[in-house]
Subunit: 346 residues, 2 copies
DNA sequence: TATTTTCGTGCAATCGATTGTATTTTGTTA
DNA sequence: TAACAAAATACAATCGATTGCACGAAAATA
């Protein structure tokens, strides 16, 4: 298994007795090469199975046509779908998407970004980890002049574009939906408010209560990580403390799943005794024994738009204008069984 | 936002009035450079915030320290976990893992592989798509002399190593477990046997029936794609055709989920009327209202081993020996409620 | 036919780091 | 102190493609 010899433009130039410069120009369809030579070069390139060495090209041009995407977890459908959206937009333009995961760990995130910068990507898309407070590693991207786009989970850094969804409105709609279904003692199991998304969901929840003249009871509000186990623990916590509640608005589908499981094991009836709404519309929510009401976020669209923002940005890179673009998408509530006390509204 | 000027070894060499060659050797800790110069260079490199240009290095050395992983879907926990295993082994050694998805589409797969080869990765890990029959694009990897490792879903190509699990034994154990629970009319909803994994699961199912003197009823055997929807349709199909069955061994957790949902909506009781076993131990299986019995595959370990095989292979690359290594892992049955007619065995 | 313009090509530098082969400097020994 | 070995450093080619500049030949113009 000998390493196959790579064919270079020099091999072509030797074979045709012309200079490598001409071969390069011919391959790039320069109008400074005669049609005859062009055809000859193209044919020879094909015959020899010439493959352009992208490393050499990247070294010379400074562009690699690779972009990096950093997400907390690749196996969350939400993030996987955003990535899909980015791929759909960028692959037709010749870009290759390098996917990295931070595992919700800021050190990992910094490492991944460093590795990406080191391989000279043309841009970075990032949804920051929960533990990301120090943002030196993110500012470093901007400082190197590498286009940077936040999606879903952002940090406020001037000059950096972002594509997010309106978590506030999503949470507001979810909470108001519960209220309209007749629930009044609505608990909120949210996430760390250091992440804007969780802060906004919390705000939306509070606003919906206030608009509907329901007093906010702090004991019904918990902050947990977004895992099934945390959802189980959260319900145990509420029950142990004898906190009254007849509904839960969770900022995560996984937490909602855990909550449902724990409630069920204690013989609470869903949605009769307790109504539940999650967030993200993970695929499993639809197929649960009792399908989960949840807020859907159009992640593919989010990825597509993020990619478009990136493409605009590299266009403008030469002109020394700096444009910061903030796109906010509207979420949609999927009303399913876990919250329909009164029966389907459709 | 000016592009930060990159610091090169030439900048260091100019500043210290020495040649770039010496700087390079100093940075690489060559013993042909005096300790004094070394220290000077290292200090200056730090002061100027020198970052090695990996593109130049890759161009010269032919190694990029990037490896590619191609999977059908990144959001399947199984694949995500394998990737995690690969990362765990390879990142400490300075490698960067580039993740790609084929979306179960052979053309996509070929495109991704081409893109990877084009960016000069040092190796490729792949779990082939369901639609992969023509394997020219995979043979091309081997022919270019790029180390290639199959995991989970493999094709038989001589000289290519693989890490798989023993699907036969997993299926055998799952089926025999159902038999021991008293089920006799066990249906099998499998996948396309063109994929070895599904063929082996089918074989294990058949073998378990035969060993236990249960006649194989072809009408109880279906082939579907591994989605929830396909599981729903499969059960509908069985019922429409009035096929008798008191258990289902599914080659996919997603299909099992769909099957459960459809059975439940028709008022079948699980596990009393119908026992169910899935395959993969996807995280949601544990948290279903009725937790799903399933076959677990140690995917993180699979990734780790695949990475180790890769590391061995690049070591041996220089010596012109060609070693093909086939590692087969043993799966484990997780007995949960959907199959425990007689109650827990523990 | 002489002069200018256009066209097609080649030369050589460049991107940044590595490395075999000089060459210089230092140190050792007679 | 001359002669030589050893150590430290410099030179220059290399990886593969691109591109500004120069040059010669052909074509257009006077």
């Amino acid at each position: 298994m000998r390493q196959k010899e790579k064919v270079t433009i020099y091999d072509i130039s030797k074979k045709l007795n012309i200079s490598a410069a001409t071969v390069s120009r011919a391959l790039n369809n320069s109008n400074r090469v005669s049609l005859k030579t062009k055809e000859l070069v193209l044919k020879t390139a094909k015959d020899l199975n010439y493959q352009q060495n992208t490393l050499a090209l990247a070294l010379k041009s400074g562009r690699t046509f690779n972009v990096g995407v950093v997400v907390p977890y690749i196996n969350h459908t939400f993030f996987a779908s955003v990535i899909r959206g980015i791929e759909e937009e960028l692959e037709p333009k010749g870009y290759h998407v390098i996917i990295c995961q931070s595992h919700e760990n800021v050190e990992n995130e910094a490492k991944q970004i460093k590795a990406l910068l080191n391989t000279h990507i043309d841009g970075i898309f990032i949804s920051v980890s929960k533990t990301t407070e120090d943002i030196k590693h993110i500012e470093a991207v901007r400082d190197e002049g590498v286009p940077l786009i936040f999606f879903d989970r952002k940090k406020d850094i001037s000059g950096v574009s972002s594509v997010t969804i309106n978590d506030y409105e999503g949470a507001f709609a979810a909470t108001e939906h519960l209220i309209k279904q007749g629930y009044t003692k609505i608990a909120h199991i949210g996430g760390d408010p250091k992440l804007q998304i969780y802060k906004h969901r919390y705000d939306g929840y509070i606003a919906a209560l206030k608009v509907n003249n329901i007093t906010v009871d702090e004991s019904r509000i918990l902050e947990v990580s977004s895992t099934v186990e945390a959802g189980i623990a959260a319900v145990q916590d509420l029950l142990n403390k004898k906190t009254e509640f007849d509904a839960i608005f969770s900022a995560s589908d996984y937490v909602a799943l855990g909550a449902m499981r724990e409630l069920r094991s204690r013989d609470f009836k869903i949605p009769q005794d307790v109504g539940i709404v999650g967030f993200s519309n993970e695929p499993f929510t639809k197929y649960l024994e009792r399908p989960l009401t949840t807020v859907g976020q159009t992640p593919v669209l989010m990825g597509q738009i993020a990619a478009q923002v990136f493409l605009e940005q590299i266009k403008e890179k030469n002109k020394s204008v700096q444009v910061e673009k903030r796109v906010v998408l509207m979420p949609e509530l999927y009303e399913r069984e876990t919250s329909l006390k009164k029966g389907s509204t459709h």
